[in-house]
């Protein structure tokens, strides 16, 4: 089940930050290396910084409530039923393309015992829904789904009690059938009849009368996604598709590089262009608003040509980035340790792994619409956290949060903190300059690519020892990484705010504490090692803009751990699957490993075929969410170094399954996306700036590189907590591919990406000879 950390906006967390300025100065300066534990109150302060949290409850009793009922205990915050029996369910989570709209509808329908079509679901909207923080960290179903499950069960019970009173029968004589409450005597009431006089504005109870899983009719079935018919037929599915009356179109002009200052620009010439309404300039922030989108783009290009900038950026290069990271000031964090008795070590292995900066790379650049009308600002956004965004915008615009409403509307795929929030800030700043008119802003491809907060570059270093029987007796692990969470703690975290005449400063980076973790997510081995130390060198200074990307540090940590496990297995002359099971007592972990191995047809005695390899990997996401094991079979083409993935078999346990096809879709997608990260992707940059500005300078997987076959097998755990499926496959996929490439080429690749630029050509000759 999920963990929940305090949100920066809660009173308790604010209290922790009262004495924070000194530490903040320390962090901004970033020039000292001080042990994390030496900071007074550091633990409490660190708890501010989680990307996954919903605000904590105000009362101790609410803290015992299931899921996010703990933060929003009122039943009518989640479910409302009107006199016409219309059922509306509210979630503070957003549809990011993962299918939660459908899944949450199933959950509510099951517990209310109605058809899914009878449920109207409202997603993240600061004006309507509970504040559930960010839609991130695979938390949606665990936190919001669990809240809806329990709220719906309690509302059903209250409806039955109300109906029992109206019909003068015991509740045991009543049941729900086809959306009506039916008595054994044949009489029935609609939900609208039953809800009359029933006050749902009451706190939920800790225990709910849940439907037994064996009786589920909707939950656990592959209900088709409610959003797909519109998406395959040109429906208005995205914020990009919204058209409001009188809507204007805007584009921002981004500086040529980080921190550049605008010296001058010929605004008047651009304002004379056809359709241009206004050039908006505030310090080094520059944008243009026009009647038509193409006019806005032409005007933006004209502004770009006339603007003169003073540049200051001096970035590391891909050749120097890892040395740069190793030399940056650190905050030392002990992510985990264990010390016990063990047999003497007979051999020790040591390896270092690296990951470059990765782009989220949504196919649709970020977009938002903002409308300042009568002193109230409404923002339609695909941001992951509408409530935190509202807080940031309130500070940016010097408005009261109550005067700003942020409404989530789906955008293109979201794989973490992309420029959605920045685009919302653009829209709000520009809308303020043209009050009364809705303003739509979409970023250009090169803006999305060069200005997004990337997934951080990382270094991991691992040293482990084996005893004479081939068991790991010691494991020493280190991580160097920037923050994986530069989300909207303040206005300064919004890119446009940093370029205003009165600029805002980003809140200093804070690590996400374990067990969720940030750069150290999944860094503690789940295996039964008698001794381990896991140290996270948290690097506050960020040479390149970074933030959360799907899985955070889990991608690199699982890639490292599960690659190194294979290296250890080889040193112990053991089969990789057997070697994992040898060190794993977790039953559910063993189950997914066994299922993946069986379905794949894993054969410890398989003959070695040069250029051809199989690889295996396993992880439990965050060591507390979904279990996933994966086997990959691939070929490395000697002449080109191309990798052809012939077969992938995954096995996943995400607790009680809400929608099996939805889980499969998430896991399949995660496998392919992770394969793309692992094999092909790296942000390009030089001293002058980011040089990945399109899909040719940031190549991702294309159809010729897609696996021939991917099969995902599910283990259902009826009645068990929802564990979330969105990120479970990112890390294991990378390691399984690495292990298969090692098997195919005889060489271990520890630096990502593995197949970019045909680099595996250098290995394939060895495989032929060896």
């Amino acid at each position: 089940m999920s963990r929940r950390e305090p949100d920066p906006h809660t009173p308790a967390a604010r209290a922790d930050t009262v004495d924070a300025p000194g530490r903040r100065r320390f962090l901004v300066a970033g020039s000292l290396t001080v042990g994390f534990s030496l900071l007074p109150g550091a633990h409490a302060y660190a708890q501010r910084a989680t990307e996954d949290a919903a605000p904590v409850a105000g009362s101790a009793a609410a803290g015992k409530l299931p899921g996010n009922l703990a933060s929003t205990p009122l039943l009518d915050a989640w479910i409302r039923i009107d006199a016409q029996s219309h059922i509306t369910v509210y979630t503070g989570k957003a549809e990011l393309g993962t299918g939660i709209q459908t899944a949450f509808t199933q959950i509510a329908a099951e517990e209310l015992q109605v058809a899914p079509a009878q449920i109207h679901l409202v997603t993240a909207d600061t004006g309507l829904t509970p504040n559930e923080g960010y839609t991130a960290g695979s938390h949606s179903t665990a936190d919001s789904g669990t809240a809806i499950l329990n709220a719906a069960a309690q509302v059903r019970e209250l409806l039955l009690e109300s109906a029992a009173g109206k019909l003068d029968v015991p509740t045991s004589a009543l049941s729900v059938r086809d959306g009506r409450i039916v008595s054994v005597d044949g009489r029935s009431l609609s939900f609208g009849d039953a809800v009359a006089g029933l006050d749902l504005h009451r706190d939920a109870k800790p225990v709910s009368p849940l439907i037994p899983p064996a009786q589920y009719r909707v939950l656990g079935t592959p209900v088709p996604r409610i959003d797909i018919p519109a998406k395959v037929s040109g429906g208005a599915s995205y914020v990009q598709d919204m058209r409001l009356p009188g809507m204007l179109h805007a584009r921002a002009v981004r500086p040529p590089s980080y921190g550049a200052t605008l010296i001058d620009v010929d605004s008047a010439a651009v304002e004379a262009m056809p359709g241009v309404v206004k050039v908006v300039r505030d310090g080094s922030y520059l944008a243009v608003v026009a009647r038509d989108e193409w006019q806005a783009i032409l005007a933006m290009r004209a502004l770009e040509r006339s603007a003169r900038w003073q540049t200051v950026a001096k970035l590391p290069t891909p050749d120097t980035i890892y040395d740069t990271l190793l030399a940056l000031p650190r905050r030392e964090i002990i992510a985990g340790s264990r010390h016990g008795d063990a047999a003497p070590a007979v051999q020790t292995l040591h390896a270092r792994y690296t990951k470059p900066y990765l782009s989220h790379g949504s196919i649709g650049p970020s977009c938002a619409i903002a409308h300042l009308d009568g002193g109230k600002m409404t923002v339609w956004t695909h941001a992951q956290g509408v409530f935190p965004l509202r807080g940031g915008l309130a500070e940016l615009l010097a408005m009261k949060p109550d005067d700003i409403r942020c409404i989530h509307v789906p955008g293109a795929g979201c794989y973490g903190h992309n420029p959605a929030d920045d685009a919302a800030a653009d829209a709000a700043l520009i809308a303020r300059a043209v009050p009364g008119a809705p303003v739509r802003v979409q970023w250009m491809r090169e803006q999305e690519h060069t200005w997004e907060p990337f997934g951080p570059a990382m270094i991991t270093d691992v040293k482990a020892s084996l005893d004479a029987s081939g068991r790991v007796v010691d494991w020493q692990y280190e991580i160097w990484s920037n923050s994986h969470n530069q989300r909207i703690d303040n206005a300064g975290r919004l890119l446009p705010a940093q370029y205003l005449a009165q600029p805002f400063t980003p809140a200093p980076p804070q690590p996400i504490p374990m067990p969720e973790g940030g750069g150290d997510r999944n860094s503690v081995p789940l295996y039964d090692f008698p001794n381990f130390d896991v140290r996270y060198h948290f690097l506050p200074d960020m040479p390149i803009r970074v933030s959360a990307q799907r899985g955070l540090g889990a991608f690199q940590n699982v890639f490292t751990i599960e690659s190194f496990i294979d290296e250890l297995a080889a040193a112990a002359h053991a089969d990789p699957v057997e070697f994992r099971l040898r060190h794993l007592s977790d039953r559910r972990g063993r189950d997914v490993i066994a299922l993946a191995a069986t379905k794949f047809g894993w054969n410890p005695a398989r003959p070695r075929v040069p250029g051809h390899g199989v690889g295996f990997a396993f992880a439990q996401y965050k060591n507390l969410m979904s279990y996933l094991a994966i086997a990959v079979e691939l070929r490395v083409v000697p002449e080109t170094g191309d990798v052809r993935i012939e077969r992938v078999v995954g096995a996943v346990d995400c607790g009680q399954i809400v929608n099996p096809d939805g889980v499969r879709n998430q896991i399949e997608g995660g496998i392919l996306q992770s394969a793309s990260w692992t094999l092909y992707e790296a942000v390009r940059y030089d001293e002058g700036g980011i040089r990945s500005f399109d899909w040719s300078s940031y190549p991702i997987m294309r159809f010729s590189q897609v696996p021939a076959k991917v099969d995902v097998h599910l283990i259902d755990r009826p009645g068990a907590p929802f564990l979330g499926a969105g990120e479970a496959s990112q890390g294991p996929t990378a390691a399984a591919i690495a292990n298969a490439i090692a098997a195919a080429t005889g060489r271990r690749v520890r630096d990502l990406p593995m197949a970019a630029g045909g680099r595996l050509r250098e290995f394939s000759g060895q495989a032929r000879n060896g």
Partner: protein
């Protein structure tokens, strides 16, 4: 004035001749299907048909396609009456965020219209210009293969029927 023939209907539009077809479709004809992805012809999210061929509408000036038949995904079918290809995408639940999907369907439709007996390998090869970031490729391929099979079967049934 620029005259565009879209999904069988002529539209006279007072737009800048340099305007890419994408913006004419989206902002002047209120069609959502074609998406802005890159503006460079690198991702295929904006794919529509001109003269039966798939084109990147983001790099095709509206003035260059005057008088030519333009087809968008809105011309294929509706949620209630989807085309075979749209139907197959629903059957396979072949979308996550779905932003690339209209372009995928239009690209695949062009192949279906011209080479309906294409193999899975040929389908994959033909889809090379189109990007998906969610990793929905397996389902996209599955849906297209199903639609090709359904159309081929329809063709066989029709042929068989004609002989009967």
């Amino acid at each position: 004035m620029i005259t565009l023939s879209v999904n069988g209907v002529d539209h006279a539009l007072d737009i800048d001749p340099s305007m890419p077809l994408l913006y004419a479709l989206r902002n002047h004809l209120n069609l959502n299907g074609a998406k802005y992805g890159c503006g460079l012809g690198q991702c295929g999210a904006c794919t529509v048909h001109v003269d039966g061929k798939p084109v990147f509408s983001c790099v095709t000036p509206a003035s260059a396609v005057q008088g030519k038949p333009i087809r968008t995904i809105e011309g294929l079918g509706t949620p209630d009456r989807p085309s075979p290809l749209q139907h197959a995408f629903i059957d396979h639940q072949a979308a996550q965020c779905g932003y690339c999907i209209a372009g995928m369907i239009m690209r695949a439709q062009a192949l279906l219209d011209t080479r309906p007996t294409s193999t899975e390998a040929e389908i994959r090869d033909y889809l090379q210009p189109n990007l998906c970031r969610c990793g929905t490729h397996m389902r996209i391929i599955g849906a297209i293969v199903q639609a090709f099979g359904a159309v081929a079967k329809q063709h066989t049934d029709d042929t068989h029927g004609a002989h009967a």
